[in-house]
Subunit: 163 residues, 2 copies
DNA sequence: TGCAATGATTGCTATTAGGCAATGATGGGT
DNA sequence: ACCCATCATTGCCTAATAGCAATCATTGCA
């Protein structure tokens, strides 16, 4: 009722800038969701997120992984149990400190993430290819800049969550 | 170094187009994730997704909602139980068919989604504002076009999931 | 050496998620 | 009027998520 949008409660349809930003955000979420359901069964969204975070962290201990995921150490340990059981990550005692644990993506985990990204890319490239050659280059340049700016903002904010 | 990504297994860093697309997708995921954790406690990711889908559907029955979410009718009913208990959706017998149920966002559910989108927009606008006025307009135009093209592709694919 | 802090795991519990099957209620078609 | 299909709910089950508290091992420091 803020305005006459018959099929949505979108509170921002009074601002075209907001509408464009949200549209892209929703489109990206939709693409990622569709890619996620194509994953081999048994991979929950939380597990996929853990794999993604782990991919960004490279190799860490459980405490850091838990902090990056925003969950408690015990939950992190259990989550790793399942991921190790699924062969997606490797967990062994750290070579440097025997009380820490080195967690890392396994080859299969890496492959799974690659498939996930590949699926997302297939859709995104299809969208990009719907433009003419000239406009495609412009849009791509804008996306590249926007992605870089967003990443810079993340790092400036110091948020360890999604790196 | 084009591919010297020491801390990542990114399988696409050999293609700058893919890298740009994935960077934007990841940035949008990160923004949405950060917005999600600011929600009042007790709202799980699945519940948030149900609210989003419900927002797009407007008013539906349980079967359609379940189909849009890709889950069984029983799971959908239980999910609605929790959402109704939380005051986020309204469920009443449909005015037209007494065997169906009309599910709709409540005022509080609408407000919650508005807050979620508001949080996402705050971040996205900040990213956009990091550009100069001229470039900002170009980027915004590209985002608008990309979002529109993605939506068109979704509809063409007939995917009811994320509408 | 002794002790406190750190890192990880485990026992326990609660909640959520998700499905299968059965049941009840309702509407449409013959 | 009767039967069947559809819609929703509920009982029952399994698994995943998540935290608290306790425990054990290890490291660093006094």
């Amino acid at each position: 009722m803020t305005s006459g949008n018959a099929d949505s409660d979108d509170p921002t349809d009074d601002d075209p800038t907001d509408a464009a930003l949200l549209a892209v955000a929703r489109a990206m979420m939709a693409v990622s969701l569709r890619a996620a359901v194509t994953l081999p069964a048994g991979i929950s969204p939380i597990q996929l997120r853990a794999l993604t975070v782990l991919s960004g962290l490279g190799q860490t201990n459980l405490a850091d992984l838990g902090a990056a995921l925003g969950m408690s150490p015990s939950s992190t340990s259990r989550l790793c149990d399942r991921l190790v059981a699924g062969g997606l990550v490797e967990r062994r005692t750290s070579p440097h400190t025997r009380r820490e644990v080195a967690v890392r993506l396994s080859g299969e985990g890496t492959r799974l993430l690659a498939g996930y990204d590949g699926h997302r890319l297939a859709e995104l490239r299809a969208v990009l290819d719907s433009f003419g050659p000239r406009r495609r280059q412009e849009v791509l340049g804008a996306l590249r800049d926007f992605g870089a700016a967003a990443r810079a903002a993340d790092i400036a904010a110091g948020d360890p969550r999604v790196r």
